[in-house]
């Protein structure tokens, strides 16, 4: 039985190594002559008004992808909420005494990290950033606070029902925003606002609005995940 297990391990290792070796040995990639990326690079600045071509692609040309992505994120957050809120509260783990270093660094770093999160969210069409990364950065600032003060202390400052309404309301707005052009008599998923001049703060059509809404959604989702994880495994 033991030899059989060792044999299986060796066999699987050889198989995986062979697979990796074959992929590396026969890897060849020719750049296509008419590259799709080049078309986006030449057309996106004038069509969407966003300097960041990546956010122009995922919030304008391929908005459909992003909508389902945010839906998957919401379903995962809902799953975390569903499976952990029904879960028996653990016996209270003794709280670790507050450390001066952690407390001071949380005081020092919470405002800048949160501000960076807001900046990344709002400038997603001009520079690297966007709703997803900005929301996660702002959520990380709350994680720092929760480590320093305890998750329940931070959680009490949020009004739970309002948070829930905001979470699902923002999702509803994000999902229905692309349908809004129907009201003005245009096709859905077409541009609602004019692109504006590239490089200005107010430009990029509806990309900043989408970024802001996605940022709020991701921020609340990150906070819910952090809060539920900490609450059911004892205080840090």
């Amino acid at each position: 039985m033991r030899y059989r297990r060792i044999g299986l391990i060796v066999y699987a290792t050889i198989l995986v190594c062979c697979f990796c070796g074959l992929v590396i040995a026969f890897f060849s990639y020719q750049e296509p002559t008419r590259e799709l990326g080049a078309i986006y690079l030449s057309r996106a600045p004038s069509e969407t008004g966003a300097a960041n071509i990546v956010s122009a692609i995922y919030l304008n040309y391929r908005l459909y992808d992003t909508l389902f992505e945010i839906l998957i994120f919401s379903v995962a957050v809902l799953g975390v909420r569903f499976y952990l809120s029904d879960y028996r509260e653990k016996e209270i783990v003794e709280k670790i005494p507050e450390s001066q270093i952690v407390r001071t660094s949380a005081d020092l770093f919470f405002p800048p990290i949160f501000l960076i999160g807001i900046y990344l969210t709002l400038s997603g069409h001009l520079s690297p950033g966007g709703g997803f990364s900005g929301g996660v950065v702002a959520g990380t600032a709350l994680l720092l606070c929760a480590v320093a003060l305890g998750a329940n202390t931070v959680g009490k400052r949020f009004h739970e029902p309002t948070l829930r309404w905001l979470e699902w309301g923002v999702l509803l707005v994000v999902l229905s925003l692309p349908l809004l052009p129907i009201v003005v008599g245009r096709l859905p998923f077409t541009a609602l606002l004019p692109p504006g001049t590239m490089g200005k703060v107010i430009s990029g059509g509806s990309i900043p609005i989408d970024n802001l809404l996605i940022g709020i959604r991701v921020f609340i989702g990150t906070w819910v995940i952090i809060h539920y994880f900490m609450r059911h495994r004892g205080e840090v």
């Binding site: 379903v75 997803f132 590239m198």
Partner: protein, 119 residues
């Protein structure tokens, strides 16, 4: 050259992650290996879109600068978010299993489930 190096590193990371998912018995290490596989796929996609001396696709200066292909980066962005969400959900399931069986060892959990069925 950068592209080839990126793909080779990605394939090696993929192999390490796959072996980790098969052989390590700890559920959390299995999930970390899954994250490694996911990261290797992202690295592979981004390096396929790279160019020699390319710069990030954010238009600041001249029109015809050597920008890298923006499309794989936009797709990888979706993959990162979905990876994060799935990892969080999978950790919740591991927490439920640990609550019930008091172990993260997958073989021990399997053994316990078999014993429960026989009873």
């Amino acid at each position: 050259m950068l592209m080839i190096a990126g793909v080779i590193v990605a394939v090696i990371l993929f192999g390490i992650g796959l072996l980790g998912m098969i052989f390590r018995r700890d559920l959390i290490i299995k999930l970390l290996s899954l994250g490694l596989v996911n990261g290797s796929v992202m690295l592979c996609l981004v390096s396929l879109g790279s160019r020699a001396n390319g710069i990030a696709p954010i238009i600041r200066g001249p029109e015809n600068a050597n920008y890298v292909n923006p499309l794989p980066q936009a797709l990888v962005l979706s993959a990162i978010v979905i990876n994060f969400a799935i990892l969080a959900l999978a950790l919740v399931f591991v927490m439920l299993l640990v609550e019930h069986y008091h172990s993260t060892d997958s073989q021990r959990i399997e053994h316990e489930i078999k014993r429960e069925r026989e009873l």
